[in-house]
């Protein structure tokens, strides 16, 4: 906690400055509400925010899980089968030039206003960083380690399970963290296009009724959710790769 102290102090200072400027220049509340008003909105509509958050978090979680599954399977196939790598990998990369947000309306046309199109948007956004980070992690492995295992008589599958997959975990987890931050945002944007529940729709409603302090409150909730999601991924990483977080040297004792 201590290491965040300087940032916290600075942030509090910014909030005070903001509060002061709004009051001093008598800025209209719908242009820029003061932090106190935002905080008030956050408290007053907390139940409503919680309700919408649940729905957005659910979309993000399902979409993210789908992306993890599909992304990992695809990455493994790409790195195990050269022919697939040659045909599919360039397409996967080029597919990223298509802005997913622009594809989202299509998904609404095809799948309606329910849960499914949101989940698909999230999955489409999240899947790329996961696939790429895993493919690269699987291929970064020291060729000498592979030679060593082959000399021990290991087959391709054993090399994959015992060396490549564990070696790729840190890389995979950096992809997972990126995807986790994207997931909430993707769900919110998908909701903008049409939904009955969720933080995205709450956000647009607040905007249309000029309740700017509500807009800010939603933004805070969105970043809170994203942070929590990343923390969850980070926690899973620490559980799966204790060695990665434990690099302090012990003395060269005899």
């Amino acid at each position: 906690m201590r290491k965040f102290m300087p940032s916290l102090i600075f942030f509090s200072f910014l909030l005070l400055l903001w509060e002061y400027i709004v009051k001093a220049f008598q800025i209209d509340k719908f242009i820029l509400p003061p932090p106190s008003a935002i905080f008030e909105a956050l408290i007053n509509s907390s139940l409503l925010l919680l309700e919408h958050s649940k729905y957005t978090a659910l979309e993000a979680f399902i979409g993210f899980s789908l992306a993890v599954f599909a992304g990992m399977v695809l990455a493994m196939i790409i790195s195990l089968i050269t022919a697939v790598k040659k045909t599919l990998y360039p397409l996967v990369i080029v597919s990223q030039t298509v802005p997913i947000m622009a594809v989202a309306p299509l998904l609404i046309i095809w799948f309606g206003y329910g849960l499914l199109p949101k989940v698909m948007v999230v999955a489409l956004v999240c899947f790329f960083p996961i696939t790429v980070s895993l493919v690269e992690g699987l291929e970064k492995v020291d060729a000498d380690v592979i030679r060593l295992l082959q000399a021990m008589g290991a087959n391709k599958f054993q090399v994959f399970i015992k060396v490549q997959l564990p070696a790729a975990l840190p890389s995979l987890f950096s992809g997972l963290k990126i995807s986790a931050t994207y997931s909430i945002m993707a769900a919110v944007i998908a909701e903008w296009l049409g939904a009955s529940r969720g933080l995205g729709i709450y956000l647009t409603r607040s905007m249309h009724s000029f309740q700017t302090e509500q807009v800010f409150a939603v933004i805070i909730v969105i970043s809170g959710l994203s942070l929590a999601f990343v923390a969850l991924v980070e926690g899973a990483g620490r559980m799966l790769m204790p060695w990665y977080y434990k690099k302090h040297s012990v003395a060269d004792q005899k």
């Binding site: 082959q150 000399a151 060396v163 975990l169 004792q253």
Partner: protein, 262 residues
């Protein structure tokens, strides 16, 4: 050579290997002869070193013995059985320790046993016994990143021994260590060999290291590698560092230097 039974353990018969490499212009392929008619033998429990100029093809020789590559001609015999091109018959150790960072020291040591489908608990027991025997027991729960280079190389060595193969191929295992650590490793290795008596084929650049550790030394020519000379090291065991300045030691060194740099 005192404790040797005289039984030939590993025999290499007239190995030759050449590679095809792209010529500088990139149109045509060029032949690069790497090994030329190499024959050698190692008796059970013997420590044999191979020294030669850098890039002369020593590592290719080990790749062939371990089955990673196939020779163009020639055969490899283990206790009289033809093992040319077969993997998993001998234990191979490289200059880099190549420990897996996500496994504890103990679990790194059991890698080869795991691949042979030995149960984990049995493999761990076996590894723990050897680690304790070689004074590495305290580190068994640590991760490789927590150990120094010298300690990691010892662990890598234990892993090689635990592969359960009677012949060890050591490819410059101390090449990346500083002089002091290397010297410590020699003492440690000599001790370990007194205990386990493996058959060893050892590649090195270091002439003194070769004399200090070996029963016999082969000198290779520059590429394509062929055997230039074979010399027995008749110095008493256990060999200590003060041997380095002894007349008999220096005599052997003189012969080797002359052969290598002539």
């Amino acid at each position: 050579m005192s404790v040797l039974s005289g039984e030939v353990h590993l025999r290499i018969e007239e190995l030759s290997k050449e590679y095809m490499i792209k010529s500088k212009q990139g149109y045509a392929y060029q032949r690069l002869p790497t090994l030329e008619n190499i024959s050698l033998e190692v008796s059970r429990g013997e420590f044999v070193s191979i020294i030669g100029p850098s890039g002369c093809g020593k590592s290719t020789l080990f790749n062939i013995i371990s089955g990673l590559e196939k020779p163009d001609a020639g055969k490899v015999f283990l206790q009289g059985r033809d093992i040319t091109g077969l993997r998993g018959k001998v234990a191979y150790m490289l200059q880099k320790d190549l420990l897996l960072p996500w496994r504890s020291i103990l679990d790194n040591c059991i890698l080869a046993l795991e691949l042979q489908n030995v149960t984990r608990s049995k493999a761990r027991q076996q590894a723990m016994d050897m680690l304790r025997e070689l004074n590495l027991g305290d580190f068994s729960a640590n991760y490789p990143a927590q150990l120094s280079g010298g300690m990691r190389q010892r662990v890598s060595f234990v892993r090689t021994m635990l592969a359960g193969k009677e012949v060890l191929l050591l490819d410059e295992p101390f090449g990346a260590l500083d002089a002091y650590t290397k010297s410590e490793m020699h003492d440690w290795l000599t001790d370990s060999f007194q205990k386990y008596r493996p058959t060893v084929l050892f590649i090195t650049h270091d002439i003194e290291e070769a004399i200090l550790l070996s029963d016999r030394i082969y000198v290779l020519t520059p590429r394509p590698a062929a055997i230039r000379l074979q010399i027995g090291v008749d110095l008493p065991h256990p060999r200590t560092r003060d041997l380095l300045v002894r007349e008999s030691f220096v005599d052997i060194k003189r012969v080797l230097l002359k052969e290598l740099f002539n």
